[in-house]
């Protein structure tokens, strides 16, 4: 017994020395690693700062040539003409119309799907359907663009005679399908976090599932559903490839979804495909357009976060 103990004690000594030696090294490693993690954590702030800086810097150059008032209120956007006009409203209406078409598809369907999956669907159906629905948001948007241009537009042309090949309607419809899972998934989470007690109270008063869902669950989860809607809106505003492929590239100051029109994002793509020299007004104009786009989505993002925080606090 003592024979087996002996070597153990002998081995301990050098080890303890080793530990004492490396204590400084260990502390240094600890501190270095902590700083590394802090830097990685701050990287996201750096990215935001970089985005804001680049957009502001190039936009300032743009607004030296074009007044902010003209930019925001002008109804003609012809940067490539000999006498260029920089009124962004045609691009804004293009963005608005495609977004509205997408929302008229995504919000009702997304909400009904969320209510159904949260309150009605049996467990196994919900667990299989949810990942399948989420695949809708995984499909590359350029593929959706192809679908809108090559399948939905010809189909719509049969129903609406005289519809041009490039139109905001088909782009918006397909975009709406893409956004369904964004709306349904977050709304469903909000509805499911409504406590069972509230539902039971409603059942006890004789409510059926539908009444419980509409009068108890939905109102209780309203801020979460609002956050889901806003996420959908923000996605639709920033969506690029579907509209660039299927809605056309010509700025068009119209509110008619049956016409072709460029959105803010489509304009940026169009300019990027060409080869505008660095520092020209045309080059700077995509940053000014991007800045407006960034501000629009930022407003919705902040609003959405505010609502989401509220529903997290509620229960």
């Amino acid at each position: 017994m003592s024979a087996t103990d002996q070597p153990k004690i002998k081995r301990l000594r050098p080890r303890r020395q080793l530990r004492a030696q490396s204590k400084i090294a260990r502390d240094l490693t600890e501190r270095g690693v902590a700083i590394g993690f802090l830097l990685a954590g701050s990287s996201s702030v750096l990215i935001t700062l970089a985005i804001v800086f680049v957009l502001c810097y190039e936009s300032v150059g743009f607004f030296r040539h074009v007044s902010v008032f003209e930019f925001l209120t002008g109804t003609v956007w012809t940067p490539q003409f000999a006498n260029p006009k920089y009124g962004i409203l045609p691009l804004v209406t293009g963005t608005m119309v495609t977004t509205l078409v997408a929302l008229t598809v995504a919000l009702p369907i997304g909400t009904v799907v969320a209510i159904y999956l949260s309150e009605f669907a049996p467990f196994t159906l919900r667990e299989t359907v949810k990942p399948a629905l989420e695949l809708l948001s995984a499909v590359p948007t350029v593929v959706y663009g192809y679908f809108a241009l090559q399948f939905v537009a010809p189909l719509l042309q049969k129903i609406i005679p005289g519809l041009p090949t490039f139109n905001m309607l088909s782009a918006g419809l397909v975009m709406g399908i893409m956004i369904i899972p964004y709306v349904s998934s977050l709304s469903e989470d909000a509805m499911r976090s409504v406590p069972m007690l509230l539902r039971e109270g409603s059942y006890a008063l004789g409510g059926n599932k539908l009444l419980t869902a509409l009068r108890v669950v939905v109102p209780s989860a309203l801020s979460g559903i609002g956050a889901a809607y806003i996420l959908g809106i923000s996605r639709a505003i920033g969506e690029t490839m579907i509209v660039a492929v299927a809605a056309g590239m010509q700025p068009n100051f119209t509110l008619n979804p049956g016409e072709p029109a460029a959105t803010i994002t489509a304009y940026i793509v169009q300019v990027s495909l060409g080869d505008l020299p660095h520092g020209s007004i045309g080059y700077q104009s995509i940053f000014a357009a991007g800045f407006l786009l960034f501000c629009m989505t930022l407003v919705f993002n902040i609003l959405g976060q505010f609502l989401r925080r509220r529903y997290h606090q509620a229960y």
Binding site: V33, A34, F37, A40, G41, S42, S44, V45, I47, T48, I51, F53, V54, L55, E58, I109, V112, I115, Y116, L117, F120, A132, L136, A138, V139, P140, T141, V142, V143, G145, Y146, Q150, F151, I177, I180, N208, K209, L210, L211, A213, G238, T240, M241, A244, V245, T265, I268, V269, S272, L273, I286, F287, G290, L293, F294, T297, L298, F300, N301, Q305
Partner: protein
């Protein structure tokens, strides 16, 4: 009494009607996906053959292929993954394990949520202004990969944070009690245990990145590339080189966009075939992610 039974019957009918509406709405989405896949397969499947996968783009639709786009996508994905995963995991570890509760941490958290909502094309503008013109980098694989890495960073961060949060505090306390330092706890316990969650997040992030088109168009990835980046291997020591990072490139979604924009229908078939390849990649990656998540959930019982 008859009134009550009528009321009950009416309400039950309401439920049944909504059951049908809900089912229909749910399957509208899935049906749309099915139609999309079917349409793409009808247009593109005849075009997919060995020649299509191994040829460079060409002026003639029947000779054109997606080799340079495939290789470009692969190279860009490698850069994206090599950047986004370490950075995202480290940021998540910081936020979950290291960050003190102060205003700076709150700013980071709000900021990450906001970044996830920034349109992808804005990232392209940022990369164009900062990386291409600010730092003077070329419109290369490196810049493309970095741009997409920044874009998918929030996905990796959120997934890793969820995985870390799922590890019970007891594990950390046990390790500390045994004398482990913070870094040792992270290195030998938290990271291994959250590997499944990190893997899921990484795959989802990569499937998002492979389909992204707009930011790469913005930084000026070319639509017509008929050459491949230089090989990373060489005969002379050190046998590998990084020249491919500096090469111009195109990726699958840009190649597809380019072919959609052509007026003739032969090129549209090429576009559909490219889309089919792309969608097979994304769906496969998503399926793997769902499977990994499922396995992790089954395996992990604290």
């Amino acid at each position: 009494m008859a009134e009550v039974t009528d009321l009950i019957r009416a309400r039950k009918r309401q439920d049944q009607i909504f059951n049908i509406i809900g089912l229909v709405c749910t399957f509208v989405g899935i049906l749309a996906l099915a139609v999309l896949l079917f349409d793409l397969a009808m247009d593109g499947l005849p075009r997919i053959n060995w020649q299509f996968l191994t040829s460079a783009p060409s002026r003639f639709a029947h000779k054109a292929g997606i080799l340079s786009a495939l290789v470009g996508s692969l190279c860009v994905m490698i850069v994206t993954m090599a950047t986004a995963v370490p950075l995202g995991v480290a940021a998540a570890v910081y936020l979950e394990e290291y960050a003190p509760k102060n205003w700076f941490t709150t700013i980071i958290e709000i900021n990450i949520a906001n970044l996830a909502g920034v349109p992808s094309i804005i990232y392209g503008l940022m990369a164009l202004g900062l990386l291409v013109y600010g730092l003077g980098l070329k419109r290369s694989i490196l810049v493309g990969g970095l741009t997409l890495a920044l874009l998918v960073l929030p996905i990796v961060i959120v997934a890793t944070r969820e995985a870390l949060r799922a590890i019970p505090g007891v594990i950390r306390e046990a390790a500390y009690a045994a004398g482990a330092t913070k870094w040792q706890v992270v290195r030998y316990h938290l990271l291994p245990y959250s590997l499944g969650g990190i893997a899921t997040g990484t795959i989802i992030a990569m499937s998002r990145a492979i389909g992204e088109t707009a930011p790469l168009i913005t930084i000026g990835a070319l639509t017509y590339i008929s050459f491949l980046p230089p090989s990373p291997f060489q005969a002379k020591p050190p046998f590998v080189n990084a020249q491919w990072l500096d090469s111009q490139f195109t990726v699958l979604p840009i190649q597809m966009f380019n072919w959609i924009s052509r007026p003739t229908s032969d090129f549209h078939h090429n576009a559909a075939a490219t889309g089919l390849v792309l969608i097979v990649f994304t769906l496969a990656m998503n399926a793997v992610a769902i499977y990994v998540r499922y396995r992790v959930r089954q395996k992990l019982k604290w």
